[in-house]
């Protein structure tokens, strides 16, 4: 039983077509599916890329100061170089010595990855909403999308959640504790 939908593009195409018996003792003997190796390779390459980007950005910083003391650039350079080496090492290991059993998350249900991706995207979309409409409306929209759209809960209870979660949080933080919450750009108070 493998996943029906094709995985969306992106660096985290790592969900495993898992079967029930994979949790059994047969795990060690079974060759790992390739997706894990691809993910691991991607992780190695991303680490190298992050290291290189940091090296480029830190290039303008002095490595050593006027009297030879370590400058602001030294430490980031060392760490970035370390990342490049380690990332490359991981990538090479993955290719050269591919099938080492790694601790991986428990099996997921079909469509699980798509659901997780939807939740994350909804969260991302709620950020511009926070800027435009302020805390309570944006968060109510997020909760509404999650319970009606993703979880497909019907009835009176989800309506209660959509109203209560943002309202109670808003009351508690903004009104009672005086903590700052995002305010609307369109409708300033």
């Amino acid at each position: 039983m493998s996943i029906e939908e094709p995985a969306p593009d992106g660096p985290i195409r790592t969900e495993l077509p898992v079967t029930e018996e994979i949790r059994g003792p047969a795990e060690e003997a079974r060759p790992r599916p390739d997706r894990h190796a691809i993910g691991q390779l991607t992780f190695g390459i991303i680490s190298v890329a992050v290291g290189v980007a940091a090296l480029i950005d830190a290039a303008g910083l002095a490595k050593f100061g006027k009297s030879g003391q370590p400058g602001p650039g030294l430490f980031p350079d060392i760490v970035a170089a370390l990342l490049v080496v380690l990332g490359a090492w991981l990538a090479i290991l993955t290719v050269v010595r591919p099938t080492r059993a790694e601790p991986v998350e428990e099996p997921v249900e079909p469509g699980g990855f798509k659901r997780a991706a939807t939740v994350w995207l909804a969260f991302v979309v709620s950020i511009p909403l926070l800027v435009l409409f302020g805390f309570a409306p944006a968060m109510a929209a997020l909760v509404a999308f999650l319970v009606f759209g993703v979880e497909r809960i019907r009835g009176f209870r989800p309506v209660l959640a959509v109203v209560l979660v943002p309202a109670v949080v808003y009351l508690l933080f903004s009104v009672v504790l005086g903590v700052d919450l995002p305010e609307s750009v369109l409708f300033p108070v």
Binding site: S67, R157, L160, V168, V176, L177, G178
Partner: protein
């Protein structure tokens, strides 16, 4: 359903308990601004934070204001965050902020800073914290001149301890080095406690700071003050000579001042309201007691005078920052 009810009831109870404790008082008082918020650029317990809380406490104690002013910590970017916040409150009457030289220096040294001290509305200057030079009690330096002479004779061996490179203590130290052709290193700590510890440990030989930074250690006999940086002797430490008396050129060194500003375009009558409030505060006995205990010098400046003062400070700090090569490019 019952779970929700209980959850709701629990939260409602929490709201009542907290509200009852008066954590956020939102009742409006009669008078110009109905509710005032005091913005500071340090975290709770930091210099400006404690100063603002002290001022609010004394204003309340002297019955000059009814409601407590909540203190708002905008700690981003050493003053940048606080100034940006003030800018976003343009024209409002319910916001004031405690200002220090950091508000002038940070925009001078930070690339791409979108705010500066000229963006805010000066309300009043309150006090100056005279800077002093201190050494460990058993140090061989009897005066500030001794330290500087030794630093001149043995360049780059002595160590001054202090805060960030752009803080008043660092700028003062660098200006003194430039004027006396001496050289010493600067050991920087983000945490003020560790600075005193470095002096006590003997890692650093000298520290420049406000009188209040040292007063307890001086009374305990662990630290000794060897010179007053300003041009006048201090009432709290009458025996300590000024740098000028010791023959060290000390004119135009940066001053550690404290005052209040408001958002840009704050209505003139509101500025006057706060200015008069603070003027009355500085003549109260508890203010004078507070200033004396910390070794501060009260110097009240009204909104106009404070604007001129900030301008002068900005000009002289800019010169200093440029000379020392700290300016943003």
């Amino acid at each position: 359903m019952r779970t929700y009810f209980r959850l709701g009831a629990g939260l409602a109870a929490a709201v009542l308990v907290l509200g009852g404790c008066g954590i956020a008082q939102r009742h409006s008082a009669n008078g110009v601004p109905s509710r005032t918020e005091a913005v500071v650029h340090t975290g709770p317990g930091g210099g400006s934070d404690v100063f603002a809380r002290q001022v609010v406490k004394m204003l309340q104690g002297d019955k000059l204001i009814d409601a407590n002013w909540p203190v708002r910590n905008e700690t981003a970017g050493s003053g940048i965050g606080a100034m940006s916040y003030l800018k976003s409150r343009r024209g409002r009457e319910d916001t004031v902020a405690a200002v220090t030289p950091t508000w002038i220096v940070t925009p001078l040294t930070l690339d791409g800073a979108a705010v500066s001290i000229s963006d805010v509305r000066p309300i009043a200057g309150l006090l100056v914290e005279p800077q002093v030079m201190a050494v460990r009690a058993d140090s061989k330096y009897g005066t500030a001149a001794d330290f500087i002479a030794d630093a001149h004779a043995r360049p780059d061996t002595l160590v001054q301890v202090g805060g960030s490179i752009t803080a008043t203590d660092s700028l003062t130290g660098q200006a003194l080095q430039a004027r006396t052709q001496s050289k010493w290193s600067f050991l920087t700590f983000a945490d003020s406690g560790q600075r005193i510890a470095a002096l006590l440990r003997g890692d650093a030989q000298m520290m420049i700071g406000s009188t209040g930074d040292f007063s307890e250690q001086v009374r305990a006999g662990a630290i000794r003050v060897v010179g007053a940086v300003g041009d006048k002797r201090l009432p709290a430490l009458p025996d300590v000579p000024t740098l000028a008396e010791e023959g060290v050129p000390s004119q135009g060194l940066p001053e550690e001042f404290r005052g209040f500003v408001g958002p840009p375009d704050m209505p003139a009558q509101t500025v006057t309201y706060y200015q008069e409030l603070l003027r009355r505060l500085t003549s109260q006995p508890d203010w004078q007691k507070y200033a004396a205990e910390d070794g501060d010098v009260t110097r009240f400046l009204d909104a106009g005078q404070f604007r001129d003062y900030l301008g002068q400070q900005q000009a002289s700090l800019k010169k200093l920052v440029d000379q020392l090569g700290l300016a943003s490019h």
